[in-house]
Amino acid sequence: MKERDLIDLENVAYTYSGGELLSEMTLSIASGAFYFLTGPSGSGKTTFLKMCYGALVPTAGNITIFGQDLRAMTRDDIALTRRRIGVVHQDCQFLDHLNVVDNIALPLAAAGQDSLADGANLKELLNWVGLGHRADALPPELSGGERQRAALARAVIMSPDIILADEPTGNVDWEMSQRLLQLLVELNRMGKTVVIASHDLSLIRAAKTEVQARVLRIYNKRVQLAGANL
């Protein structure tokens, strides 16, 4: 593992009861880089991301997250690690009884940093994702794009080192997907590592004008570097 690698996978395999999904994956997620992870539906993109934030443990091989062996991590270690990893799901889940601003501030509350949720920082974050006017709305009242942006705001509120986004543009139109992509690119420019799992090649092509992205492709259970340029 190189010093600036955040997540290291070494000969990782993942087997479901139905058979092997991922095999012999060796990869390092470098700090400050921008990755696209592509592959057809069911190829294992989500499984890959879940292993990266410790929600799944590989059935073979080793994963090191911020220098810690995933298998040796306690439940508390995993919780603390997730404060350094922002996750955005396609079906971004919220606490439906809390309004947008409370949902976004939830990671701070869980980390005992409620005081940071007050004031300008949170307002600035809401404005950055374009939800300043929807702060008091409940999640079920949000559109698909608004939900994705709220999920992104929640993912970055702890100022994580890496953002893992699983099909973040899956439920939104092209214009909104461009807007989301722009936000992720901005985060990358701030020094954050970004990994986007997507099967939408047009999104990846659109990104090449904005950022130097490395494209990883899951093919035949293995991950391949598809190249820096599309």
Binding site: L80, D102, A110, A111
Partner: protein, 301 residues
């Protein structure tokens, strides 16, 4: 990597965010409050029964311990002489402190509840009674019986132990049964609250998943449930205890009670026991919920 100093997750802490992460509604709220109220109500009665049995046992033990009765059934013309002879025997028996002949008037008063005030005791072959009090050493009942058989043929010694022991034993068993019932109710409360907690966690699976995803530790997630269930159990128990106490207070007064209810209830400082019930039931809920949440959370990655 180190945890924030404030997120250690004391199971019950004054932290508004924890209270809010779990939706406030759901059938488990009512179930927990109702169960706690019902159990507290029943515990009040079990406690009253146990305390009454304990008092009864003490009273019987104190009243009957060290006492005996001598019955003399003899032809009328021999009654006085046998009575005098029996008193003489008793007064010279080591271990007997006091001997008192029950007067005919006292005997009439004893029989009055069964035969009415107009009973002609003199006309009936009613035995004469002598009340015996032991001293600290006690007497030898077998030896006394032998002496009486030789010197007062119409005398029968009843040292009370024959019926005292089963009564005291029965009262002690009722007391133990009362305590066992209280323990059983506590265990039932814990089981019900555990089920309610598991149901609440299942109903809030998305909440738990989101909290895990954003880096909440198990202690934080558990405390959100534990605090809520503990408070519900406390308020439920307070309501149940108050209702139970009122019901006990409204029971017929001691002098009006039938024999079977004699002494049922709380006396003086014993009422203070009831103040302990809501905190105890809340503590049961606290440990049951904490155990249940931790067990459920361990199943998630």
């Amino acid at each position: 990597m180190s945890a924030s100093k404030d997120d250690s997750g004391l199971p019950i802490s004054h932290d508004g965010s924890r209270d809010r992460v779990v939706p406030p509604t759901g059938f488990t709220a009512g179930l927990t409050t109702f169960t706690s109220a019902a159990m507290a109500f029943l515990v009040v009665f079990a406690l009253a029964l146990a305390l009454a049995a304990d008092r009864l046992s003490d009273r019987w033990s104190a009243a009957l311990a060290g006492g005996a009765t001598l019955r003399i059934l003899a032809p009328a013309e021999q009654m006085d002489s046998q009575l005098a002879q029996a008193v003489q025997v008793l007064k010279t028996t080591p271990g007997i402190a006091e001997v008192r002949v029950i007067t005919p008037e006292e005997q009439q008063a004893l029989l009055e509840p069964w035969f009415g005030p107009d009973l002609p005791v003199d006309a009936l072959p009613v035995p004469r009674l002598i009340d015996i009090r032991e001293d600290g050493r006690g007497y030898d009942p077998q030896g006394l019986r032998l002496r009486l058989a030789a010197e007062v043929p119409g005398a029968v010694l009843d040292d009370h132990s024959r019926w005292q022991r089963p009564l005291v034993k029965a009262a002690q068993r009722v007391w133990a049964l009362g305590l066992f019932s209280i323990v059983l109710m506590g265990a039932t409360s814990a089981a019900m609250i555990t089920l309610a907690t598991r149901a609440a966690m299942a109903a809030n699976a998305q909440v738990v998943a989101v909290l895990r995803l954003i880096g909440a530790r198990d202690s934080y997630i558990a405390s959100a449930f534990v605090r809520r269930f503990t408070l519900r159990a406390f308020f439920g128990a307070a309501i149940g205890t108050a209702a139970g106490a009122l019901a006990m207070y409204l029971l017929p007064s001691k002098k009006d009670q039938a024999m079977i209810l004699s002494g049922l209830g709380f006396q003086q400082l014993q009422w203070l026991w009831l103040l302990a019930l809501p905190p105890i039931i809340a503590a049961v809920a606290f440990f049951a919920t904490r155990q249940a949440t931790r067990r459920e959370l361990r199943r998630l990655r």
